[in-house]
Symmetry: C2
Subunit: 344 residues, 2 copies
């Protein structure tokens, strides 16, 4: 990953030339972008009647990723995905992104190009226009700071705060895959020795897909009372939803869909599969609270998010603030302590 | 600046507690902020009929600043100022900011607090609401990534691209102060030995004031044909304005207002004062091109930017692409090569 003396590096080009490389890859801007990449400031035409939704998140080398474990294009894609996941939880439709990079001077130019390609590939899928940003040199880690901007309808927004007793809890996808993939990489296992399940888990870690389409469709149909994304794991998300809504959440452990890679990995190291799955971070799934009278509307909305399975995993139980529990083998206990990013 | 073992550090608190500290300092949000700091995403109500203008810029320790040379509150204020300067050049009115921080774990909590206070003090003056952001740990330098959002009227925007032959060039403030202040600090001179001029220059380096009010007023009165900010120095700004507008720019060297600190410093080290002043970066002044028929309207607009002097420094000379020259002692030569940030 580090270049030999003859490998062209980002330092050999400088900021302006690097921005020009990005501009070529970005291509012509969509109609809502008045001024795009390469200017002092970007200019956007807001959606008529919509609110502007903004989120920012960074990926920092050796805190959120290691270059040895994640290919450059995956790092670029993930930098956007973690932001789109935050936006998804609000139901906003993503529109544009700004990318602020701090680059170690020795970063190979080919890694830079791959990272930008990965970012732009993810952006194309989500119809997000890269409209600007900033490139600096870093005396330390590679830092990728992304800001995404979306538009949300004033009365069709999702927050963490709307869940009511009696609501049902639905989860997109399955949990634990990213944590298992990270654990595999951290243990120094190589890809060639991986089973299919582990390869899938490593992919989930390296190339998460944010559920922005689900968030946007569910918000537009007004079929959920609250939503949160699973950046810090299902247990932590459940606690935060419970706290913000002032309710109790009760998950049914037997209903929680666990990633096959996590089943395999937990078996290998002899740990509790379900505990590892619900405390594992970086799944970037969505947890919705859905009033029973909206259930069929919600499930119809989810069918429009092709290929994203949804599972009922519990209920909003009581109007008590903050407690999130799970029922496991007939016994109700608090959910285990959640995952925290190294970053705090 | 580095804490003793007993000094509380940011690592002793963690992300959530640090965000809570910021939230307390921010206070209640203004009416256009629907969802502010402390949530998954921020939500803003756009200005009716306005465009959304966005800019992002970062300050990286040991690239853009040194903690030993700049007090924490000045670092915080400057992180916002460099972004407001980009916005000023577009004529947008600043409204909101996002702050993404990568913090070395050993950063003293008191430095963190001072940095945030400096940022928020600058934000209050510019009526910018801090609406969100992100805090991570950094294994290397302190990184402050700021995104600002402003609103601009569709037909009252400023760009670098509108200057026409015959336009007059006007400069806010004076140049060279920040470069002199930085040179003083880099030479290891202490504050006690500084003359008043040098103290002023060090202040200009550490605590720049972006000309967002001038940019916004001039844009609204439509009295300038083009504008650019001086983050990389006057010579570089003139070249970029000339290139973007496809014109030639000719500055009158005798008219360029030079910061007294730069006069003093250049005398001390025996360098060409004017060359040092026009190539010195980080002045964050604005350079405007003004059609002669709009001159009185422009000067009336500038009088509304209290305390900001404006000087006529040259003319847009020919419809040639890209050349920026200055006339000095009767001889016309290209402007000297400009300042580049260490960052690229």
């Amino acid at each position: 990953v580090t270049g030999s003396p003859s490998t062209p590096t980002v330092a050999s080009l400088g900021e302006r030339a690097l921005i020009d490389r990005i501009r070529v890859l970005v291509g012509p801007p969509p109609p809502h972008v008045v001024i795009g990449i390469g200017h002092d400031a970007a200019v956007l035409r807001p959606d008529r009647g919509a609110l502007t939704v903004l989120s920012t998140d960074s990926l920092i080398e050796d805190v959120h990723f290691r270059r040895a474990w994640t290919p450059p294009d995956a790092i670029g894609g993930k930098a956007l995905a973690v932001n789109l996941s935050d936006l998804a939880a609000t139901g906003a439709t993503p529109r544009a992104a700004l990318l602020s990079l701090a680059l170690p001077p020795a970063l190979p130019l080919s890694d830079f190009d791959e990272m930008i390609r990965g970012f732009l590939a993810a952006a194309r899928v989500a119809r997000v226009a890269l409209i600007g940003g900033n490139i600096s040199s870093s005396p330390g880690p590679l830092v990728i700071d992304t800001t995404v901007l979306g538009s949300g309808h004033p009365r069709k927004r999702l927050t963490r705060a709307g869940a009511k007793p009696g609501d049902e809890l639905y989860l997109t996808g399955c949990v634990g895959g990213a944590a298992a993939g990270l654990a595999w990489l951290a243990a120094g296992r190589d890809a060639a020795s991986a089973t299919d399940e582990m390869r899938g888990a490593v992919e989930r870690y390296a190339r998460p897909e944010a559920r922005w389409r689900c968030g946007s469709i569910v918000a537009r149909t007004r079929s959920a009372s609250a939503a949160i994304d699973l950046s810090d794991g299902l247990a932590e998300a459940a606690r935060q939803l419970a706290e913000a809504s002032g309710v109790g959440l009760e998950l049914d452990a037997s209903a929680i869909p666990v990633d096959p890679g996590m089943r395999f990995w937990a078996g290998q190291i002899g740990t509790d599969t379900l505990e590892a799955a619900v405390t594992g971070g970086e799944d970037y799934e969505l947890l919705f609270a859905v009033p029973p009278r909206r259930r069929s509307r919600f499930l119809a909305a989810m069918r429009r998010c092709r290929d994203v399975p949804v599972t009922r995993v519990g209920i909003v139980s009581r109007p008590d603030a903050g407690e999130a529990t799970w029922q496991r083998n007939g016994i109700v206990t608090p959910l285990p302590a959640g995952f925290r990013h190294l970053g705090g």
